[in-house]
Amino acid sequence: MPPRYGNLNTADWAKAAATINGYKTEPWLLKGAQILSINIEIDDDPADNLIPRTMHPSIPSYAIFNVTHYPESPAGAFSIAEVRIAGRTGVRPRGFVLRSFCDSEDARRELGARWGFPVAPAEVKIDLRHDRIVAHVIADGRSALDCELVDRDVIAGNDIQYIASMHLARNKEDGKLVLVQVDPEFVFAKAERGKPRILHLDNNAWGAGDNLRLGNPISATFTVADVTMPKIRYICNPDVPAMQGTTKVAA
């Protein structure tokens, strides 16, 4: 077995990439976010086709399904769903965002231009029930994702560890394709853990084709948190290992 690293064809993948307006993004404080996050193991070898060469897959590979409702933001209220593939840039855990869907045009424009979110329009809903948290994503009139956390159980916010994201984006200033590290800060007001369930997943909606094969369920969490969308601090060349191709762009 040869050494492992991501095999994503970034040139092809860039067709869905956002254009980012440089790296001088100012932070956004987003209060009272409701975050459903589900971790599921995925088959290792095909998963390597879903992360760029910058990243080494985590052992084992796993996918993170995030659905978040932000009741307030500079772009108004919005909900966003993401599918991320966990990996490592150098020695740091990171999630490569395959696609994201958002229900607000204003938010989509800002998220893409400020942080390089690869975001498309969709209906995104989180339903809070006493026995479960349910999320639906409907894009182009079809379900892209139905998932839920069941058997809600209260845990401490400091037990939660969300990993930072990597967005493949094109920089408007120089036209270069880069991986943008987006590492929000969270202040938790509430945290719960439960069993994860993916009820429906349209792989093609997330650009994953046959490479995203769900395996062992790990965990699901639901949190209410104040989220600070950060300044951009690091970018990576998507086609070389992170140890060789990481650039610091802000303190």
């Binding site: 040869p2 080494h56 020695v91 037990d159 560890q161 790990i218």
Partner: protein, 369 residues
């Protein structure tokens, strides 16, 4: 202070038919040499599924081979996973007793619970349960080793009355240790009268505080075993070379390789939030401290890489913190050629060990002076 070896047994890709055998052979050659040089002990981990990082799922077999190739070195489970999905407690009692007999009473038994989802998920073990099952297991083991007839009705396991045989060669039983990774686990060790088997480097200040807390609490412990094993052990890297710059350079290659490998694994806390895992465990702490701030040479503080003078200086600081034993990782992914590893051991035994009471006695007896 005594010195030992600590094996993860990391195997580099690409994996050919001979790759794993070569790595195991190299480890055994190092152990055989270390025995003649006066090293006191050899420990081996129990890890599963940690590709490249550790191909050591059956430490009792490796340690048996070590025991057969050595005369004086003690052999240590570092650690045996006390989670029922991994190891049934009866099997632990039996296997360790056999290894103690075969080694002529040289066994040390480290206990722990695994820190990665990679392993816990692989065995479908719940991270919420591991601290509880570890505690239950360590209270059972000494009785299983020492009582002629044994029965048990507990929370995670039970058995009707049977005679568990054989019994350990050491009487009343081998020393018991706890893997200390998460903050506060040294308290668990002390309260139970067990040795503190540190698997993180930590800074000197942190270590000093941990050791003081351990020594204070163990005075009033309720031992799980038939005796109190008051000892503090830590793990470190070792690459010793006459030329300091060369030693640091090659040693850092090893530490960086180890850090990179460790970071690819999935820590329990990252995947499965649980109060049972308040820190990321062994791996990140090893990474952070092995690549932390050091002096102008680039050698991180407290890490045993460089020339003999540097190593004496750094290890004296650990000794001043109250550390009784230091166990060394010698390689990572075979990034250091075997001959250089063996030379490093020889230089260490000749030029570093004599500066330490206890270790120097062993080295002198072995002709290391």
């Amino acid at each position: 202070m005594k010195f030992g070896l600590f094996y993860e047994i990391s195997v580099p890709r690409p994996w050919g038919r001979e790759t794993e055998k070569t790595v195991y052979d190299n480890c055994l050659e190092q152990v055989a040499l270390a025995d003649t040089l006066g090293f006191d002990q050899v420990w081996a981990v129990e890890h599963h599924f940690l590709e490249e990082y550790s191909h050591c799922p059956a430490p009792e077999l490796f340690l048996t081979a070590c025991a057969m190739k050595t005369k004086k070195m003690r052999v240590g489970h570092g650690i045996v996973v006390c989670v029922p999905e991994f190891n049934h407690p009866i099997k632990i009692a039996e296997r360790t007793a056999v290894l103690d007999i075969l080694s002529g009473g040289r066994l040390e038994v480290g206990t722990g619970r695994s820190a990665t989802w990679t392993e816990l998920g692989g065995f479908r073990a719940s991270p919420d349960e591991t601290k509880k099952t570890w505690d239950e297991f360590v209270h059972c083991l000494p009785n299983m080793w020492t009582q002629e007839r044994y029965s048990y009705q507990g929370r995670s396991w039970s058995m009707p009355q049977r005679t568990i045989v054989p019994k350990p060669y050491q009487k009343p039983h081998p020393p018991l240790w706890v893997a200390v990774t998460s903050p506060g686990t040294e308290v668990d060790a002390a309260e139970r009268g067990m040795g503190s088997l540190g698997l993180t480097f930590g800074g000197f200040a942190e270590q000093d505080e941990k050791v003081k807390r351990y020594r204070k609490i163990i005075r009033n412990c309720t031992p799980v075993g038939k005796f109190v094993n008051e000892n503090v052990s830590t793990v470190n890297f070792l690459y010793c070379h006459e030329d300091d710059a060369e030693g640091v350079k090659i040693g850092k290659r090893m530490t960086n390789t180890f850090n990179y490998l460790a970071s690819q694994l999935l820590a329990a806390r990252e995947a499965y939030p649980s109060k049972s895992y308040p820190s990321l465990g062994l791996l990140p702490a090893l990474r952070q401290d092995a690549s932390g701030p050091g002096d102008a040479s680039g050698a991180p503080e407290g890490i045993a890489i460089g020339n003999p003078a540097r190593l004496v200086r750094e290890l004296k600081k650990w000794e001043a913190c109250g550390v009784d034993r230091v166990n060394f990782l010698l390689n990572a992914l075979e990034s250091i050629p075997q001959e250089k590893v063996l030379d490093s051991l020889r230089i260490f035994a000749k030029e570093v060990m004599p500066h330490f009471q206890g270790a120097s006695d062993s080295a002198a007896a072995a002709g290391g002076r």
